[in-house]
Subunit: 264 residues, 2 copies
């Protein structure tokens, strides 16, 4: 790759990845977008120049994946169930890592991201992750994700607040799509590093009442080169009712975007 | 149809439609969900019983499809262009209806909707349409739709605020899906009455920078019985750049939901 003949698209992605790398050097990572434990797929000299950038947080950001007072009893029950499997005790009573891992969640992917070219610098600093942009607890997206690396599964417990209305009393199809995009994106990022969604094919089967708690389960279908194919189902918490399913979800590794024909 | 042996699903939809009919008797209709000028597809006795329900608004609701100070110059230019085509003058200088019609937009589909079974009555009254739930102007979804009945097209001018972030500096894929669902849903409702989205198949081609103004164009592909197939493209305002496209968007008339196998 010749860094000085990159296309406009490549330069834009480079800015995203630069921010991502800065994030990777911080404890306040959002694993939705990139894995903190994984270096970027560039030459080491390139990475070094980014790590050297100044970067700090003035305040410890709030982790939205932790319980709050708006969470229903069902949401708490499921949280406790998966959270208890993040750590287990062996025969001698020592704690060891379990099969699941809770995914922290913040209201910015990057605290001071580049991008937002059409916004003033002042507004750019106010950018917020779409799913965490409403401050009132319980009003919009309440969710926590858990990732199971061994089983290549990711689950999300999602409680839909009253500001997500589409059909009266029920969750907007776009809000459901948002959660599917978030969960499958996070899942793919755990497996492949920084990714971008290229396709979402969503079948809405049964409306989700506002206020209810549902489970999204993301599972790996296939990996082909830099493409990751993922399926996602949204069901009632006991699994008896299928609300929505997404198939053929194709997620590209960001490296792919440096190809001129990255989406064929 | 035997009204007393309706399934649970049918009863739920009946509640939605009841609300919709109440809305249809009010000037503050959200055409996204149902057409104010169109009666519901039920027997007249059924409809009469719903029209007789008490219904009033205490305050005239804000129409979010009208310009506000956050709209960019490009958003205003496009608004003026389509708005000027909602009314035209004939040879004798008399005003007459043009090919386009601006679609009003409110922060509730129904002011006092039924539904939201898992929410308290207090919270139910606070339900808000997902795309209009953030009060700060310019921070999230700023949009206005225009419908062209003759050409069976619907366009939406969309300005993406800083609270819709996904990839740093760019619009979240779920926010784009939300706008596609909203525009295609409104378009189908104009043609077929109350509808629900059954499928969205979205291809993300090029990320949308936060703060930019884009155009969504929804066009009819086909109608088969109670199914409406719609395509939607999201492009830059000059049409030169394709950001996202949705194909095979299937939208069912709500009547379809009274069939036991409504989604085959």
């Amino acid at each position: 790759m010749q860094p000085f003949v990159m296309s406009k698209m490549a330069r834009r992605l480079l800015r995203l990845l630069t921010g991502c790398q800065r994030l990777a050097s911080s404890p306040s990572v959002s694993p939705h977008f990139c894995r903190p434990s994984t270096g970027l797929p560039f030459g080491s000299g390139f990475v070094r120049s980014m790590v050297a950038l100044p970067f700090s947080f003035s305040l410890k950001p709030r982790d939205f994946s932790l319980p709050n007072s708006s969470w229903s009893a069902e949401m708490m029950r499921l949280y406790d169930f998966y959270n208890s499997q993040c750590e287990s005790e062996n025969e001698s009573g020592e704690k060891q890592r379990g099969p699941w891992r809770r995914v922290p969640s913040y209201n910015r992917t990057l605290k001071y991201a580049t991008g937002g070219a059409y916004l003033s610098k002042l507004i750019q600093s106010k950018n917020r992750l779409f799913t965490r942009s409403i401050k009132t607890t319980g009003a919009a997206f309440e969710y926590v994700m858990f990732n199971n690396k061994e089983e290549q599964r990711c689950i999300c417990i999602f409680q839909a607040g009253h500001l997500l209305e589409g059909p009266p009393g029920h969750v907007h199809g776009g809000a459901i799509a948002t959660m599917i995009d978030s969960v499958t994106g996070a899942h793919a990022a755990f497996m492949s590093g920084p990714v971008m969604t290229a396709n979402l094919n969503i079948n809405y089967r049964s409306p989700i009442p506002l206020g209810s708690t549902v489970i999204l389960e993301s599972s790996l279908d296939n990996k082909e080169g830099r493409k990751t194919f993922i399926s996602c189902k949204v069901t009632s918490t006991d699994g008896s009712k299928l609300h929505t399913e997404a198939t053929g979800n194709i997620i590209y590794s960001m490296l792919h975007l440096f190809d001129s024909n990255f989406i064929s």
